[in-house]
Amino acid sequence: MILTWLIAEIFAGGILAWIAGRWSRFWPRVISLVTLSVHMVILIVLWVRYFGPVGYVAKGPWVIEVSYSWIPQLGISYHLSMDGLSMLLIVLTNFLGIMAVACSWNAIQERVGFFHFNLLWIVASIMGVFLATDLFLFYFFWEMMLVPLYFLIGFWGYENRTYASIKFFIFTQAGGLLMLLAILGLYFVHGRATGVYTFDYNELLGTPMSESTARWLMLGFFAAFAVKLPVVPLHTWLPDAHTQAPTAGSVDLAGLVLKVGAYGMIRFLVPLFPEAALDFSDVAMGLAVAGILYGAVMAFAQTDIKRLVAYTSISHMGFVLLGIFAWNELALEGAVMIMLAHAITTGALFILVGDLNDRIHTRDMGRMGGLWQTAPRMGGVALFFAVASLGLPGLGNFVGEFLVVLGTYQANTTMAVVATLGLILSVVYSLWMIQVAFLGPNHVGWKLPDMNLREGAIMATMIAVVLWFGLYPQSILATARQSITNLQQIVATTRPEEKTQAPVDPLNVVLPEEWEAP
């Protein structure tokens, strides 16, 4: 029941904010902030209760579940379930929601009510995606987030917003519809094999099907998730959408929408089609590595600072894809860690770029330079997130990327080695960005107000979170561990020929045989 409340509260808050927007610009902001903050408190209480040090021991794979019949004629139910993985992602969603409201406090002056309505509905639908364990419901929430996002980009975006918003909508919709076909295919395959027609995730796991059916259905799911993640040939919507979206929209896109794709692969794609995913893993890992390198190279080639940050997302999400298809404990934990850390660092960079854009009204790096002198606090924060993004040890992203590379190394050594090049390239573009924008001569002669209290508070919070992820990742990994183990078991039982790997001590890496000198 609490899960329904969690989502309904935000939907209701959105409607309330819209209504309040008729009379005031101030109240929608307050309503959104209060809604999300109250929600955050509830979530943290739940987190501590279920995953805290004095842990509650779950009896099944899910800690909280709610299920009602919705369209019984088709076996569709309103079924929400939460485990550690969902918990982490919901907390993240909520946190970034608060940041999005905070960072657009002054930037949005038009149709404030409707803006916050869209913002809250995006947050609520994404939470729905993270909680849904009925495939129809999952698809419902999946599609539902599109319209408010489309409005967010289309109404409040920058100069080329119409093109970007339509492109975003059509790409994701096309992917989504392919997933719908795959969902229905799975539904009928399962129904014919077992006589039970249902969209329930737990029931559909382990559906017997032929190899080619599994491959096609898996590709349907992959299409949808790959568009969102994004995987390289399907990424072209991302730089446009991220660049043209208002700051809050970019934060949501980078922090949440991309994670939805990764979550879908972890929760649905691999467990539902374990063997097909295993056969596909070389291709997927190849795409992942291509994405890592392509994103990094493209980022370096940008002159628009927001576009640069957007391309870094493609590169970072490549690591997530790599980790998912390596599918061992280390790699999965790493993937989850990158999802969280990337959301925070990239979100922070987008907010920073947004703040900068509010001051100098350009995103062109050619017109920046020497901003550190005039806005030192901003420069410092930018440097912090740039090095966080490039994977400096001690910060969250490092933990994730390290674990992914380590895990991938066990699964596919070549891929791991090539992916490591991406780490080097990320140093290049991150530092280059700092160099061009903040250091060097201030040739335009900018005189900027430095960060104000609100901006500083946002950044301080996000810095604290990145430090926490980097210095005490165990608290995060412990929450996710049980769900990762469960998912691995699901896959292991249907991949009988593959021996279940014993957990490997991270510090005792086993070298491949050919490395042993004769």
């Binding site: 919705w70 419902f140 119409t162 339509i166």
Partner: protein, 478 residues
């Protein structure tokens, strides 16, 4: 005919009596308000009679009509649409020069024709219903005689509809020649006894009937009239063509071809599949090229009937639910969309240019919101009835493994997003200059606002909680 036989056809009789009443009232004194009231009252009365008739068991009212739940359900849908159209037409028409009362007579007759269609189980009533519908449409399309494109549209419709009727009659004659009966049930039971040479004529007859029906539904390749007629006809009449006319014809298509089990013949299955594919592709592709909102909706409606045909050719138990649910969602969305167009249209011209919608979100947020919702429902986005409808269509197709058809359906709906979004984008752009407004007055009368809001809420309800409707459809339709 027995007493209960009269009760069975009571809704049809009431509906037939209403135009007569309007005519008599006009003969006494021309009054727009009075004739509107009679029209509205007659429709409400006919609508209210439906539950009374439902309580009776299905029976053959005459050899011509079978008043079963299927017929009553579709009549309910048609009457509801007609009621919405009456409310929407009222203000729109008031500024029209010339006589107004005949409009109601024609509207009632068109509804009557369509309702006759959904109840008919005999070629005679089929033909009668179709002709009543078509003839009232000729006059309705050209109702504004001052408008050149209106008259052009009417003539175009007249010529093509007459041609399509000829096809239909020829087809009926061929079927009758081989079977010797005009009753659907007889045709269904005797068709298996045909030998091969008779079969050729029988199937050709069905094919020709398909052509006639195809014209009315404006599916490719019989769609040429649709964009011009949609554009030329007054906005409420366009809505009437899109809902009442096409809905009734689709119902008879469903009843007749299901009863004779067209899937038993590969040729018919392929013909309908090819029509479905062509309609989905051509409708969506051509809609991309349009700049006129009514023409966009015309092409999109071609595509929608292509989608419906996908579920139509599918076998399986989901089929009827899918088709019916989709048709309801389509009715709601189409009525709502044309409702907004009607509200924004004035006496000089209809609000059918995309530029008319520029900045509507900022000027009239409620209207724009409802219009956007209806377009999203037509596009099949969640929270709207169109989403569940499309889901059902795809499910019905997947159940019969018609993968090629549903992949085209899916690509079609991706394409369709582009033109629906174009209208939505125009609505939230800043208006170029103030004063260049839509041709409509700046207020929305209560009744129209109420109807639009109701369609909006209905679309939402269908999208969020479709279970009750999905629950009753199979019972109603079998």
């Amino acid at each position: 005919m027995t007493r209960s036989g009269w009760i069975d056809v009571l809704p049809l009789i009431l509906l037939a009596a209403t135009p007569v009443a309007v005519m008599l009232a006009v003969a006494v004194r021309r009054s727009y308000v009075v004739s509107t009231a009679i029209t509205f009252g007659g429709l409400v009365l006919a609508f209210v009679m439906l539950p009374v008739v439902t309580s009776q068991s299905d029976r053959q009212a005459t050899p011509l009509f079978l008043v079963d739940n299927f017929a009553l359900f579709y009549m309910g849908l048609l009457f509801a649409a007609a009621l919405v159209l009456v409310i929407l037409s009222y203000r729109y028409l008031k500024e029209h020069p010339g006589n107004l009362e005949e409009y109601w007579i024609l509207l009632l007759l068109a509804t009557l024709g369509s309702s006759v269609l959904v109840a008919s189980v005999h070629f005679a009533s089929f033909f009668l219903g179709l002709e009543i519908l078509s003839i009232s449409l000729y006059a309705l399309i050209g109702y504004n005689r001052a408008s050149a494109i209106g008259v052009e549209a009417a003539v175009k419709y007249l010529v093509l509809a007459a041609a399509s009727t000829a096809f239909l009659l020829f087809g009926m004659a061929l079927v009758y020649a081989e079977i010797g009966s005009m009753e659907f049930a007889q045709i269904a039971s005797l068709r298996d006894a045909l030998d091969d040479s008779q079969r050729v004529f029988f199937l050709s007859g069905l094919g020709l009937m398909g052509v006639g029906i195809g014209y009315k539904l404006a599916v490719v390749p019989f769609h040429m009239w649709a964009p011009d007629v949609y554009q030329g006809a007054p906005a409420p009449v366009t809505a009437l063509i899109a809902t009442i006319s096409k809905g009734g014809v689709f119902a008879i298509l469903l009843r007749f071809f299901t009863q004779i089990d067209f899937r038993a013949d590969d040729s018919l299955f392929w013909i309908f599949s090819v029509i479905a594919i062509a309609s989905m592709l051509a409708g969506n592709l051509l809609a991309l090229l349009q700049n006129n909102v009514k023409r966009i909706l015309a092409y999109s409606s071609i595509a929608h009937f292509g989608y419906l045909l996908v579920a139509f050719v599918a076998g399986g138990d989901l089929r009827v639910t899918a088709v019916t649910f989709y048709l309801i969602a389509y009715f709601v969305a189409t009525a709502g969309a044309f409702g907004v167009i009607t509200v924004l249209s004035g006496p000089e011209r209809d609000a059918d240019r995309i530029d008319d919608y520029r900045g509507l979100f900022w000027k009239r947020p409620w209207l724009a919101g409802i219009f956007a919702g209806m377009l999203l429902s037509l596009a099949g986005i969640p929270l709207t009835g169109g989403f569940i409808g499309k889901f059902y269509l795809v499910a019905a197709g997947a159940q019969s493994s018609l993968w090629a058809l549903i992949i085209i359906l899916v690509s079609g709906s991706v394409m369709s997003l582009f033109y629906y979004l174009r209208i939505i984008v125009a609505m939230y752009m800043r208006p170029v200059e103030e004063g260049e407004a839509t041709p409509a007055p700046g207020f929305v009368p209560f009744s129209e606002g109420f109807v639009l809001l109701a369609t909006g809420l209905l679309a939402l309800w269908l999208g969020i909680y479709p279970a009750p409707l999905v629950h009753i459809i199979p019972k109603l339709v079998h």
